[in-house]
């Protein structure tokens, strides 16, 4: 059994409480301690990505072996899809913590920030590593309660209202998820994801199945902010401090929203055509409505938050296309292409959206405002910020050779090959409107010099510059994932686990 798996949860959890104790004695060491914890996690996750490949590691907590081939005890599973999301969480987490070394100095009570941040990372690692349905719920609640506290960190009026909305809607989502888990346990009498698949493969009641799928989709859709469950996202992501916005929009809505939907719907449920069409239409609506709501925004963080909804729509759309093709049983290689495109876009979006939010934080740190009409001419004053922001804007709009172009290209090609011409046309139109919106952002923030301000180079402090430059280098490097050698090592194991429904279950029960 792989001993690295529980360390992903134990290290940030111990680190969070150690930071609270040591914060009373050493006032300034907290930020470096938190950065060191996340650096250790980053090294572990890259090591896991390099060594996992196509096999599934199962860790049985407490050492409880299966009895009569029925798993008892809690399982923790690491396979191809898990290591991709683990890498995203730890990379964006490390960049955000390093960025916040100099950004959080203007808030009081710094050591609470790092402790809550480590708790959020521990919760998210727990969600992606668990192979047990109720364990997903417990770690989801840990990370989301830490996120509620982090959104309200500087207690101003806007942040408190935003976190109240987030808490009520997030609480509603948790109760819907708990209801769904209750219904699943009623009929299946087990909580292990692989075992539930075995039980349901013997036959089920159709109306009960649809009820459970709708409850789980509504609960996790509220966490992932798909239309029509998006009402909390613009307020929460625009009012939080900038490294927390980067974490929320870059990782949290993916690790506890989209990842769980993908995992449960491909590996636990049988994919029916009605559910697949519902998911695809929700993705298409998210794409279109998100970008149309984003065009008219003048607040930079609200603009980026609405674009998050739209880009998540791309991921859900391509996953839905894969589901429709699998449920009809035709053209399975196009379904594999669609799912690979969706996962690639997930990774890319974490990178460039995190980078965009860090840039917005740097702009706010220098100019003190978030309104696009009040800033201008920043490209002379802040060269590092403006060049990394240019890289991120070109990535999200889908301009080659940055990574956004390749993932959107795969999604559009998969839509065309699967004979969904209307969805491919919608994807292209939304991409063009995204380009227009980000050209407006670039022009008003950086290149608008109708008043000649004094142009000395006065950029933000070193930790912030370092994080932004590192993430923009990763944005360019991730476009290498399209080449066949690297793609087979990274994306193909994840797609294989999802495409073959019985492989996941049989490998876990057999171990």
């Amino acid at each position: 059994m792989n001993p690295l798996i529980p360390l992903f949860i134990a290290i940030p959890l111990a680190g969070a409480f150690l930071i609270m104790i040591l914060g009373k004695f050493f006032m300034d060491m907290n930020r470096y301690f938190a950065s060191m914890i996340l650096l250790i996690l980053l090294i572990f996750s890259i090591f896991s990505l390099a060594t996992t490949g196509t096999d599934i590691s199962v860790y049985k907590v407490g050492g409880w072996e299966p009895v009569n081939k029925i798993p008892i005890g809690i399982y923790m599973v690491m396979d191809g899809l898990t290591v991709i999301v683990l890498c995203i969480i730890n990379v964006v987490g490390f960049m955000s913590v390093f960025y916040s070394i100099s950004y959080i100095k203007r808030y009081t009570s710094e050591n609470y920030f790092y402790a809550l941040f480590c708790l959020m990372i521990a919760g998210m690692n727990g969600v992606v590593l668990s192979g047990d349905l109720f364990n997903i719920f417990v770690f989801l609640e840990i990370s989301v309660i830490a996120a509620y506290a982090l959104v309200a960190f500087g207690v101003e009026k806007n942040e408190l209202e935003a976190t109240f909305k987030y808490q009520v809607l997030g609480g509603l989502a948790s109760f819907l998820i708990l209801f769904g888990i209750g219904f699943i346990y009623w009929k299946a009498k087990t909580l292990n994801i692989a075992d539930i698949r075995e039980v349901f493969s013997n036959g089920y009641d159709k109306r009960y199945y649809v009820l459970v799928q709708v409850l789980i989709l509504a609960g996790f859709g509220l966490k992932a902010a798909i239309i029509p469950f998006h009402a909390w996202l613009p307020d929460a992501h625009s009012s939080a401090p900038s490294p927390i916005s980067a974490m929320l929009s870059g990782v949290l809505i993916k690790a506890v929203g989209i990842y769980v939907i993908i995992r449960l719907f491909f590996n636990m449920f049988d994919i029916t055509e009605g559910t697949a069409i519902l998911i695809t239409s929700m993705g298409a609506l998210s794409m279109v409505i998100g970008v149309f709501l984003a065009i008219g925004q003048w607040d930079i963080k609200r603009l980026l938050a609405y674009h998050s909804i739209s880009q998540m729509g791309y991921v859900v759309l391509s996953t839905g296309i894969g589901m429709i093709l699998i449920s009809r049983g035709i053209r399975l290689e196009v379904a594999a292409l669609a799912i690979a495109g969706g996962l690639f876009h997930l990774v890319n979006h974490a990178m460039f959206k995190g980078l965009l939010f860090l840039n917005a934080g740097a702009i706010e740190y220098k100019t003190g405002t978030r309104d696009l009409k009040e800033m201008g001419g920043l490209s002379g004053i802040m060269p590092w910020t403006s060049s990394t922001s240019f890289v991120a804007s070109m990535s999200i709009s889908g301009i080659p050779p940055f990574n956004g172009f390749f993932s959107k290209l795969i999604i559009i090609i998969a839509a065309i090959l699967g004979r969904f011409y209307f969805l491919a046309l919608l994807a292209v139109i939304v991409s063009i409107i995204t380009l227009a919106s980000f050209l407006k952002f670039q022009r008003y923030a950086f290149y608008n010099t109708k008043e000649k301000k004094k142009t000395e180079k006065n950029d933000v402090p070193f930790p912030m510059v370092f994080s932004m430059v590192m993430m923009s280098i990763l944005c360019v490097l991730l476009s290498l994932l399209i080449f066949p050698g690297i793609r087979d090592a990274v994306l193909k194991p994840a797609v294989d686990i999802l495409m073959d429904p019985s492989k996941y279950a049989s490998q876990i029960i057999g171990i």
Binding site: M1, P3, P6, A10, L13, A14, F17, L18, M20, I21, K24, Y59, K60, V61, G62, G63
Partner: protein
């Protein structure tokens, strides 16, 4: 905040110790009777909160109390994590392994590591609920000044 009348103060003086003792009983017998760490921890915190409500908070140094209970909470969680990780060093090398001898059914000293987990989780839950209560009182004192 101000305390309550003499009758409430006298009754609380008599009862609070017994409530705390009942909380300790629920925590320690967690593997024999229903309850365990969480429920017993809440009862233990309840006895402290009863004393604070009855006598008022004017004679306490609230900031020092709150930093003390936070320290207990963090230490207790670190001990729980240390006990969990200690399973990695012995036996089947898994997290949360139950490696002490298990004894006979129904005795007080039995079931391996479970009483140890119960005790430290009980301390942790009691300290954290006391911290929440003290933090809310501190905030209210700051508003009314």
């Amino acid at each position: 905040m101000k305390g309550m009348t003499v009758i409430v103060k006298k009754t609380t003086q008599l009862i609070a110790g017994m409530v705390f003792l009942y909380g300790i009983y629920v925590v320690i017998h967690g593997h024999l009777t229903p309850g365990g760490g969480f429920a017993g921890g809440v009862i233990m915190a309840g006895s402290f909160i009863l004393l604070i409500l009855a006598y008022g908070s004017e004679f306490m140094n609230l900031i020092r109390e709150e930093s003390g209970s936070t320290l207990y909470e963090n230490l207790a969680i670190l001990v729980v994590l240390f006990l969990a990780v200690s399973g990695l060093l012995l036996g089947a090398r898994t997290f949360f392994l139950n490696w002490l001898p298990k004894g006979t059914l129904g005795q007080l000293v039995s079931a391996g590591m479970l009483p140890l987990y119960n005790i430290f989780i009980g301390i942790e839950v009691a300290a954290s609920i006391l911290t929440i209560f003290l933090a809310l009182i501190i905030f209210k004192e700051e508003i009314s000044k």
